[in-house]
């Protein structure tokens, strides 16, 4: 009888604890507890801004702790950040100055003056291995007084304001202690941003926790008691975590867009990226036929962009022949350019026959963890096969393997989504030292158009960008397929998100506000 009673009591205790543990809401954070939890699909390559990946979500790990010298407002205009005054000096986009606010400090309490800012920018420009290395290479930095830094460029650089934002990674100063200890930067933060990494609460590869920086210059702007970035690699798990309130923000894609429902769950989307088949081997090193513009143009005629876009992206993509989105004057998007390459397999075959390129094989590597990207790759291969071109696909399941393929020089092309305005896109893909120009091809017309765009100011920017865009499309330097939306799904009861103008860029994490 005693043993039976004991067993019953023990079972009752277990049941009570279990039931007490089960609560409506699945244990998620309350809407007003001041904690912002973000799901990110990948862990950072490194917390070191010199090695971090650009764009979302790579910069999400950096921007809470690293504040930019400049920022962008909701319309995309550059505004004061750590610097309160800034601008180009003279004409030609080769000289720029900014003046820091007084009494700035890094998170560790050390002063941030023009000397530290110039040192950080110089260190970044000389040492970074990140995707923006080529953009900083022409720049030099000098502290002209306690708070003023002058930037000199060896070539016209209209992008300097963006290079001074936190999103560019280099525009967010690193403290002297961080510069001195490279290995420590991989798992700690050394910025002057609103937050600092809480290393005690952080589990590398799983959860990154940020708490308010006591030395930030504008404490009123700090919204959250804590920001947590949780690595959840699977889209289904991300959606489940959002629905159960365990996370407040996820990055969406076409496969889940429009399907995630729940209290407070809101979706925003904006055209942001272009899916391209980048033709890296344009001088014919691996595939001699690719040096002939007729062959590259034939590839553009052979693709049914409408069908591929519908299959891969549904309502969240738009067919396009241009390598940029319609994001504003700097993008150079021109509706008339869309008429250059209608879907015309017969024309494609004709051009291939004229060039003597029937039966050509083109190797292509691509990242296969996105189902949509795999759909695009396989659809393109199928359609190109119909005109006698073999697209030899090599899927890579992770970023590291894909990077290895790119630099190996063994692949003539790659499937990739690109972002940015005309200047950024060209410097990313087609200038002689562009990171995607793995065969170091120099296109004279592109170089001339790029220089014209780099020196353009005011109302001339749009026409220069459109002219360069048209050159790239007519020369068929790549095969754009779809403009696709960046999609974010979040709990609007906890946080408010927004895009920066029509750029497709989401505001940095430090700018996300409470509703």
């Amino acid at each position: 009888m005693r043993k039976t009673a004991f067993a019953v009591v023990a079972a009752g205790i277990v049941a009570a604890v279990t039931l007490a543990g089960c609560s409506g809401g699945g244990g998620g954070a309350a809407a007003d507890d001041g904690v912002l939890t973000i799901a990110v699909p990948t862990a950072p390559v490194s917390l070191d801004t010199l090695k971090a990946a650009g764009g979302a979500p790579g910069t999400w790990y950096e921007t809470p702790a690293y504040a930019g010298i400049l920022e962008r407002d909701d319309s995309g205009e550059y505004v004061a950040g750590l610097a309160e005054d800034f601008g180009y000096v003279g004409d030609g986009n080769t000289e720029f100055e900014f003046t820091l606010r007084s009494d700035l400090k890094f998170a560790d309490g050390t002063p941030l003056t023009a000397t530290e800012a110039a040192d950080s920018l110089t260190y970044f420009a000389e040492t970074t291995t990140g995707p923006n290395r080529a953009m900083y290479a022409p720049l030099s930095f000098e502290a002209v007084d306690d708070l003023t830094v002058r930037i000199s460029a060896t070539q016209p650089t209209p992008l300097i304001p963006w290079l001074l934002t936190a999103s560019s990674l280099g525009g967010a100063p690193i403290s002297p202690a961080g510069i001195a200890d490279e290995s420590a930067r991989a798992s700690n933060t050394y910025g002057a941003g609103q937050y600092v990494l809480d290393t005690d609460s952080t589990v590398n590869g799983d959860t990154y926790v940020y708490t308010p920086n006591e030395n930030y210059w504008d404490k009123d702007a700090v919204q959250w008691k804590k920001i947590e970035l949780k690595v959840i690699s699977n889209t289904t798990q991300q959606v489940q975590a959002l629905k159960t309130g365990q996370v407040d923000v996820i990055i969406g894609d076409a496969s889940i867009a429009g399907t995630v429902e729940g209290k407070g769950i809101t979706q925003i989307q904006s055209p942001a990226l272009v899916m391209n088949l980048f033709l890296m081997d344009r001088d014919g090193t691996l595939v001699p036929e690719l040096a002939d513009p007729r062959v590259r143009q034939a590839l553009n005629y052979a693709i049914d962009r409408e069908a591929i876009t519908t299959a891969a992206y549904g309502d969240y993509g738009t067919p396009t022949v241009q390598p940029v989105i319609d994001g504003g004057p700097e993008y150079g998007f021109d509706p008339s350019i869309e008429e250059i390459y209608p879907y015309d397999p017969a024309k494609a075959k004709q051009l291939l026959a004229e060039a003597g390129a029937e039966g050509v094989t083109i190797s292509a590597t691509y990242l296969s963890y996105s189902p949509a990207d795999t759909t695009v790759a396989q659809a393109m291969a199928s359609q190109l096969a119909e005109v006698g071109v073999t697209l030899d696909l090599k899927p890579e399941p992770d970023f590291g393997s894909w990077v290895n393929d790119l630099v190996s020089g063994q692949f003539a092309s790659t499937l990739l989504t690109s972002a940015g305005d005309m200047y950024t896109s060209t410097q990313f893909a087609w200038t002689p030292d562009a990171v995607m120009n793995t065969f170091k091809v120099s296109d004279t017309a592109v170089n001339e158009g790029f220089t014209a765009l780099a020196t353009a100011t005011g109302s001339d920017i749009e026409s220069a960008a459109q002219a360069l865009n048209r050159t790239i499309v007519e020369e068929a330097l790549d095969v754009p397929v779809s403009s696709l939306d960046a999609i974010y799904i979040y709990n609007a009861d906890v946080v408010d998100l927004g895009f920066i103008g029509t750029t497709g860029d989401l505001a940095p994490v430090s700018a996300w506000t409470k509703p």
Binding site: G21, G130, P131, D206, K230
Partner: protein, 313 residues
């Protein structure tokens, strides 16, 4: 007994060396360049060469293993190529998560499996057959699939339990317990099935023995016969199975921790392998090996405690 323990520990050393050797050479066949993965395609050849030299990746594979081994003998498992964090620290912060999961799984498997085993042994052929079927189904279902179903039902639809994540015990015992319920259920089904089968066979066999009939005739209560006498005869078989369940749960953490996004050793193994973070891969493999060795040692010690003949030999 002391001799047994010493012998096992001595044998563990060459075993660990063999595991480290095999793991090191197997991962050398993984295609790709960790230096390039870390620095990206914008890195200059000089920067890549410098990093490869720093990581000893430019050395012959035997030299690399020798450098690793010399560190290992000093207790230094190296540091992550990507985070710079000491591997020992990475393992230390994740080990409690995995151990919570594995120990809870083992306990649940024993308790529930024993209950089911006794019930099926004492309630007649129909219940026995149902237990057999249930055991078979439990053992056959993939634990990650069960986990996904549990999340879909109990977390997403009913909102009773969290879908992902882990809360340390010291932060909140209640939330810690909540975060383990679904992963433990997913991981313990196979163990429950195994224990139930072993207990059923043992108890049923014992109940048919002459000495049990004698005790029953002497007036010993049926409940006492089952739980004190018949169950004891299943102890050694249960101990053997416990060791297998524990090690099985250890390997099961690789999938289950990824389904439930638990920051344990299993998810660390997956992420390190995907990135080719060689020191971390090595560290996790050695940790798994050490745990397996310790578990098997404890099983052997338990044999000795339970069976005087084993102690004597």
């Amino acid at each position: 007994m002391t001799t047994l323990i010493i012998r096992r520990l001595v044998l563990a050393i060459p075993l660990l060396l063999i595991v480290s050797f095999i793991t090191f050479f197997l991962q050398s066949f993984i295609p790709g360049d960790p230096a390039l993965s870390l620095l990206g395609p914008s890195a200059t050849p000089e920067q890549l060469a410098a990093l490869r030299a720093e990581l000893h990746l430019d050395q012959p594979i035997l030299v690399q293993y020798g450098i690793y081994l010399s560190g290992l003998l000093r207790g230094d498992l190296g540091q992550s190529i990507f985070t710079g964090q000491q591997v020992v620290v990475s393992i230390a912060e994740r080990l409690p998560v995995s151990l919570s999961l594995i120990i809870a799984t083992t306990l649940v498997s024993v308790v529930v499996g024993t209950l089911l085993g006794v019930i099926s042994a004492t309630r007649g052929p129909i219940v026995a057959r149902l237990t057999d079927i249930g055991s078979l189904v439990g053992a056959a279902l993939p634990n990650f699939w069960v986990g996904l179903v549990l999340v879909s039902v109990f977390a997403v639809s009913l909102l009773w339990l969290p879908a992902t994540g882990y809360v340390p015990f010291e932060v909140s015992p209640e939330l810690w317990f909540q975060s383990l319920i679904l992963p433990v259920i997913a991981l313990s089904l196979a163990g429950i099935a195994t224990v139930a089968k072993v207990i059923r066979d043992g108890v049923a066999n014992a109940l048919s023995m002459e000495y049990v009939r004698t005790l029953r005739a002497a007036g010993v209560a049926r409940r006492t016969l089952i739980w004190k006498h018949a169950l004891r005869s299943s102890a050694i078989a249960l101990v053997t199975v416990l060791g297998v369940i524990f090690v099985g749960a250890l390997s099961g953490t690789v999938l289950v921790e990824n389904v439930f996004v638990l920051p344990g050793l299993g998810s660390l193994a997956v992420s390190a392998t995907a990135r080719q973070d060689l020191p971390v891969i090595q560290g996790v493999a050695l940790t798994f090996t050490v745990i397996t060795i310790v578990v098997n040692l404890l099983v052997d010690i338990s044999y000795g405690l339970l069976n005087p003949k084993v102690r004597a030999s």
